[in-house]
Symmetry: C2
Subunit: 117 residues, 2 copies
């Protein structure tokens, strides 16, 4: 069993086109032996944002701190600490920090599945 | 995209042998179209606990509020808000609320996979 504070995981800038002021921590990933899904932590500075994109896998998100706006296919959706967000696979999305404080959220994605076993 | 406060999800008592004072909310599950992994919220009263058991799937946990002790195969592990916990498949585990306030955590599990597709 791994028990570890979020803050003690190494944090790195997200180097991706369309990203502004975002940093990531891998909380539960391949190195922990997680084979089905991976847990990451994101911190976005005020005015910063994630890319406006889509992909063939979903996001399951827990907003821990701050507030923002999600650019979704159903229009702009406000969110804040204490909300969860589910982005289905292939839906275009972007998260922007519209508050004065850092926006912090957990974002989970599926790990690649090996169905040959 | 679903954006919804944790608190507005219906909460039900966990009816399972070995559970004391635990309630659950399904935050992202089959009804949301989540096919790879499911997000649940648990609230455990002071003195309450989850079952001491093991199963063939992992847990990925985010502790949102309170504090407790995990009965793990490596002994007792203290945890508190701001920690993440990874319980590998088949490892015996139990979470007890040892604090004075409600213990609240997010716990994710894999959804059944259909590898025939």
């Amino acid at each position: 069993m791994k028990v570890k504070s979020i803050d003690t995981h190494e944090q790195s800038p997200v180097q991706m086109e369309g990203v502004e002021g975002a940093q990531m921590r891998m909380l539960v990933g391949p190195e922990d032996g997680a084979t089905n899904f991976h847990m990451r932590h994101f911190e976005v500075t005020p005015g910063g944002h994630t890319p406006h994109h889509s992909h063939d896998y979903e996001h399951e998100i827990v907003v821990l701190a701050g507030e923002g706006v999600a650019n979704s296919e159903q229009g702009e959706r406000s969110f804040k600490a204490g909300d969860i967000i589910f982005v289905p696979a292939n839906e275009k999305h972007q998260f922007r920090n519209t508050g004065a404080d850092p926006l912090k959220f957990i974002c989970l994605i599926p790990a690649p599945q090996d169905c040959s076993k």
